[in-house]
């Protein structure tokens, strides 16, 4: 990766995980026991009938297989790639103890790849019921609720501030794990049901909260989270300090840059976004990439398979290390990162050990690039503009109905994802979107 030219750069951003070969698919699908009341289905947040979609692969009913997956999970193609399957469906497979769990994620990818290639119409819009729903945010939660509402017959408009819908699926997950075309195919599926997606349209700027509230029978707030917060240490304004979300967004949008070639990079944080940023930097030609994290490997929120992937990519981890100061080269650029060693104290509110600084343990790391990946800020002002009750930007909802403090406004996805609860999952957002749509439908038509 010394001097990647444009085409090489693009190649190394191709999806890492190869598709199963046709024979592998049939062998694996036939290995599924077709359990009754299957634990894999129960372990899936969207309750995909896993044995059924796999059975349909064995009979060659690929359209039926795709329908089973996408019916339960409108982000089924994305989730086949990014779900922590070893913690969900595959972790629950009864074959774990007997032999090896079924490769459910890979089989789901096979089926959804078939669907992307053959593009059959899987679902139809419902008979128009005259009700209008506005969805703020075209990410997994917003798209999922839009899909369900369109099938119920609602007229749905999604407001999306980016150029493309799909949210973090389109912009936030590295392309070598989730190519953008996958996310955009899922967006297309939803548009085909007559959902109107207004892109480049930021609510509160391009369209007012008031007009949306006035024109809609219900509103779903699915705005996700904002930029990465500041580290709160000196030197953060130096040239060479990046926000992980923005960095990945550029790469994901097909704009790999040459500016990291040969650089020494440090990523701060150890969630999945931190890993994504680190592996991106490596592919962009960075000479060394360190991840610094103030807690230990046990507290890291990145999935085990992400961690393995990072190690395979040669990412170096500095545990119990907290950045203290970014040192300038005297010319406005990052030159070094001063850190301090941490030890773990008692458990905090999130159940994780609280990191405590070790006196006189400061040390300096060489660094040309610092990437912040310590979580995301909240869109508090927009939430406030809707006048919703929230806790530090996490919108409060009824956990059954996803209804906010304003009965006309519902919220789903990362905007209701509480801090310190591990990693937000696409699959959970998709399920919340689905359930929000159902709750709205129930509410609207129980009144009639």
């Amino acid at each position: 990766m010394d001097s990647p030219d444009a085409s090489v750069l693009w190649k190394i951003f191709d999806e890492v995980e190869p598709d199963l070969k046709p024979k592998e698919v049939m062998e694996e699908a036939n290995r599924c026991l077709f359990c009754f009341d299957a634990p894999c289905t129960k372990a899936c947040p969207t309750n995909i009938d896993v044995p059924l979609f796999i059975k349909k692969i064995t009979t060659g009913n690929m359209k039926g297989s795709a329908r089973v997956i996408m019916d339960a999970n409108p982000m089924g193609a994305t989730c086949a790639r990014v779900c922590p399957t070893e913690e969900l469906c595959e972790g629950a497979c009864v074959l774990n103890d007997a032999s090896l769990p079924i490769m459910i994620g890979d089989l789901q990818r096979h089926t959804t790849n078939w669907a992307m290639k053959n593009n059959p119409q899987l679902f139809e819009a419902g008979k128009p019921n005259g009700k209008k729903i506005a969805i703020i945010g075209g990410g997994p939660a917003g798209l999922s609720s839009a899909r369900e509402l369109a099938r119920f017959g609602y007229q749905v408009t999604i407001y999306e501030k980016h150029e493309k819908a799909g949210g973090l699926n389109t912009y936030g997950i590295v392309p070598f794990r989730l190519p953008q075309r996958v996310a955009l195919w899922e967006v297309e599926q939803i548009e085909q049901l007559g959902v109107s997606i207004r892109t480049n349209c930021e609510v509160g700027k391009d369209v007012s909260v008031q007009s949306i509230m006035n024109e809609s029978d219900a509103v779903i707030l699915a705005i996700g989270m904002a930029n990465v917060p500041s580290l709160g240490i000196p030197g953060e304004d130096l040239d060479g300090v990046y926000d992980a979300i923005r960095l990945i967004e550029k790469v994901k949008d097909g704009k790999p840059t040459r500016q990291f070639i040969g650089k020494k990079a440090v990523v701060v944080g150890a969630g999945n976004t931190a890993i994504d940023a680190a592996t991106c930097l490596k592919r962009l030609g960075a000479a060394r990439v360190h991840i610094v994290y103030r807690r230990s490997e046990a507290e890291m929120t990145a999935y085990p398979f992400e961690f393995r992937f990072a190690k395979e990519d040669g990412i170096e981890f500095c545990w119990q290390t907290q950045p203290k100061r970014i040192v300038s080269d005297g010319d406005g650029h990052v030159a070094k990162l001063e850190c301090v060693q941490m030890k773990l104290g008692d458990e905090d509110a999130s159940g994780r050990h609280r990191p405590i600084k070790i006196e006189n343990s400061d040390f300096i790391m060489d660094a040309d690039v610092i990437v912040k990946a310590i979580g995301q800020n909240r869109y508090k002002s927009l939430i406030d503009a809707f006048g919703l009750v929230h806790s530090h930007g996490v919108v409060t909802v009824n956990p059954e109905t996803f209804q906010t403090s304003n009965p006309k406004v519902f919220a789903a996805g990362d905007v209701i994802f509480g801090n310190g609860k591990g990693e937000a999952m696409v699959v959970a957002a998709a399920e919340q979107g689905k359930r929000t749509a159902r709750a709205i439908h129930e509410q609207m038509f129980s009144k009639i």
């Binding site: 062998e27 299957a38 009864v94």
Partner: protein
């Protein structure tokens, strides 16, 4: 090392594994390769007036990703000149004097035809003859094969004609495409057969291609019924062998054929009365080398059983194969779930719930985990749960023997004595 030699109606063979008449025994080259691989004998592909074969000819039944659970063919008897076959038989016998070569024969149901072909093949040095009264396709339309084999009188008469000319043992190969195979087996014995072999292939249409709507296999878009064989037919063949073996008026040796793929299958056929077995599909699927494990596995099995000779297996299970009316009505079997081995796929539950007697229930175990148990009083011991269970050892069927045995036949006798 156990003695695997067999004596089958006077035909000696160093092991009970013979290649059945079919594509693998089409030429001297093939049969000699088979003997090199270890096969004890071979039944040469059926000789008769040479025919013309069609293409394509074979098809396989795949199941659950496994290939060739069943197999069917519309190939007829040899399509090579008789002289060529006889020359190769002679050469093969010269090169492999210790191996059994049996000539399979099929001619029109005429006395002189049988006399002529028997003389010609015996002159080539074969160790025995097998009369093909079994092939269900093609030749049957010309009055041969199963068309003969389905009529006991024709079986008896043609066996008799062959025996008139034969100096070597005559084996009659029977078709399963008949209601009661013991009828034709008995006819063969009456005709003087030295032995019988079974089963030939079963009438079958392998499938229909869902894209073209052609039959599988097809010849220029047209198809015809073929003969079915392979692992899927084994239970049918085994029952037919057993039915003949337990008949005292069919007192001749049996060569078992049908779905035999390994030493275990062979041992089962031998226990049910076969003293040699014939294999075709498995050799077509995997090549002649499969015989190595057949010989080795059977050898180890016979040793493990403490027997001196493989012939000691023959017929051991026949007395256990009875009519339904002779089974004990009072005997009980119940399923038991071994929680240490259960993987919680719940297949036994749904199978019992939907298709048996609704007696496998969920309960919460001491650790708060959901588990399954059998409500014994309602279990009829049908075996279904243990059949569908994918976890070895998770379900055992436990015998609950009765103190007093009572069969249906005994019960009916009692009723007629005291009840009526």
């Amino acid at each position: 090392m156990a003695d695997l030699q067999i004596d089958f109606a006077g035909i000696k063979s160093k092991n009970p594994f013979w290649l059945a008449s079919g594509p693998p025994t089409n030429t001297g080259y093939q049969v000699q390769r088979a003997f090199d691989a270890g096969w004890g004998g071979a039944v040469w592909k059926t000789l008769g007036d040479p025919v013309i074969n069609v293409t394509s000819r074979f098809s396989g039944l795949n199941y659950g990703g496994q290939r060739v659970a069943g197999f069917n063919n519309i190939e007829l008897i040899t399509d090579r000149p008789l002289e060529v076959n006889l020359r190769e038989i002679r050469e093969t016998k010269r090169n492999y004097p210790d191996h059994a070569i049996i000539a399979s024969l099929m001619v029109e149901p005429k006395q002189e035809k049988w006399h002529e072909i028997v003389r010609r093949v015996e002159d080539a040095g074969v160790d025995g003859l097998e009369l093909n009264f079994g092939c269900p396709h093609g030749m049957a339309e010309r009055g041969m094969g199963s068309a003969s084999g389905q009529v006991p009188e024709l079986v008896e008469k043609q066996t008799y004609w062959a025996k008139e000319a034969a100096e070597t043992p005559v084996i009659v190969k029977l078709t399963p495409n008949i209601t009661d195979i013991t009828a034709t087996a008995f006819a063969a014995a009456q005709g003087g057969a030295d032995a019988i072999s079974m089963i030939n292939t079963i009438n079958s249409l392998m499938g229909v291609d869902l894209d073209s709507w052609n039959t599988i296999p097809n010849v220029a878009g047209k198809g015809t019924h073929g003969g079915y064989c392979g692992p899927a037919v084994k239970p049918i063949a085994l029952s037919m062998v057993a039915e003949c073996a337990r008949e005292s008026d069919i007192p001749i040796p049996i060569s078992g054929i049908g779905g035999i793929e390994n030493w275990r299958d062979a041992a089962e056929f031998m226990l049910m009365g076969a003293s040699t077995v014939q294999v075709c599909t498995a050799a077509m699927h995997h090549g002649f080398r499969i015989v190595e494990d057949m010989i080795d596995g059977l050898n180890n099995y016979v040793d493990d059983k403490g027997l001196a000779s493989v012939m000691d297996l023959v017929g051991q299970s026949v007395p256990k194969y009875l009519k339904w009316g002779d089974l004990d009505l009072n005997h009980k079997v119940v399923a038991h779930i071994n929680q240490d081995y259960c993987i919680h796929c719940n297949k036994c539950h749904i199978a019992c719930e939907d298709a048996a007697h609704q007696c496998i229930e969920f309960f919460t175990d001491a650790d708060g985990r959901r588990a399954l148990s059998v409500r014994e009083e309602d279990c009829v011991g049908c075996n279904l749960c243990s059949i569908v269970c994918p976890a070895e050892g998770a379900i055992t069927m436990i015998d609950k023997p009765s103190e007093v045995s009572m069969t249906w036949n005994e019960r009916q006798r009692m009723i007629s004595m005291f009840g009526g």
